[in-house]
Amino acid sequence: MQVNIEKIENINIYSIEGNLDSNTSGDLEKKLIPVIDANNTKFILDFSELNYISSAGLRVLLGAAKKLNQYSGKMILCSVKDDIKEVFEIAGLLPIFPIVDDPEAAAQKILQ
């Protein structure tokens, strides 16, 4: 898994490539949680290059969402492949993670 991070104004955009599972979710956690703790509250996760997410990956995203909630922050997912969207549906996480089509739509939603 590879995470490309950029920051445009006060929005943190994480583009995640590869597999998010028990072997890689810890890396994402290390890149995400300290940034939230440093008072960043707006995150876009671009999943266009994400191939697969397991329960370990979902767990890390939920931990981040829970933390962001404490700071009234927002995390929007975009460009999510159908299979991965279905995994979120199966896990009951669609109400927690807003999913939009592309990064532009994510930026619009996060600024609402």
Partner: protein, 316 residues
Amino acid sequence: MKVKFWGVRGSIPTPQSSVQIKQKIKRILRKISEKQLHDLPAINRYIDTLSPVEAGTIGGNTACIEVRADNQLIIFDMGSGIKNLGNAIMKNDQKTEGLDIHIFLTHTHWDHMIGFPFFSPAFFPSNTLHFYSGHPNLKERLEVQQDYRFFPVALNQMGSKKEFIQLEHNSSINIGNVKITNFPLYHPGGSFGYRVDYGGKSFVYATDSEYKDLSGKNTKNHIEFFRHADLLVFDAQYTFEEAIHKEDWGHSSALVGIDFSVQADVKRLALFHHEPERDDFEIENILKKSIDYGNINYPDKKLEVFLAIEGLEVNL
């Protein structure tokens, strides 16, 4: 090795309600009508094809599993399901010279020991019950459960001989040629998983366990414990989302069970410790979604996922 489920429900015995039974009857009648079945033999044949979810029940008794291997009688947990197991032992196994019955406890929460006072073989002086637990003071815990304030028959009034063995954590014990290894699990008050190895087959019983950190470094010991199991019985009380919100309640979800099973090359995964608030159709729906999850994430794996159902026997 034969594994039989006598109690599969979590937390509290959960009988079917009248509303649930009526719902099933209406569904069956509707299907009979749709299929235009009119004569009784055809209707009977059709009903016999229906699953326990449709025309029976997944089961409301709490945790109890029977294992038979190498002519040994081994029981895991003494939830309310052990009452019916005791009756079956009385009918099929009881001999005048007595029986040796080996009982392993995951922990002593009510849903895992509430059935013991109703376990008929425990009343026969010719029988010997061998209790195994990773927890200390098991005898005292059973005595408390049968204190006169809570139950009319004290532990020492049950006529069988009783032996209490406290297991060293992560150790193995042999019963005949059956090797049983324990493994501590994360649960309020602590719980223990058990792995049974016999004749090249293995069965793992891992209920009442929460997995908060799913990273590889934290789960590798669990994965090794489950490695190459022919059957893994796994705590799937919650949905994934519920398990996160009920942090420290000590239970897990089917999705975690599937991920672990794939990593450990488990052959068959039984979802166990069903949530008492859910009816059979809701539990079946969890199974369907879990299978979808497995098909999406692991299309090349041949893991079989199914529900632990009261009365189900699995031959390994």
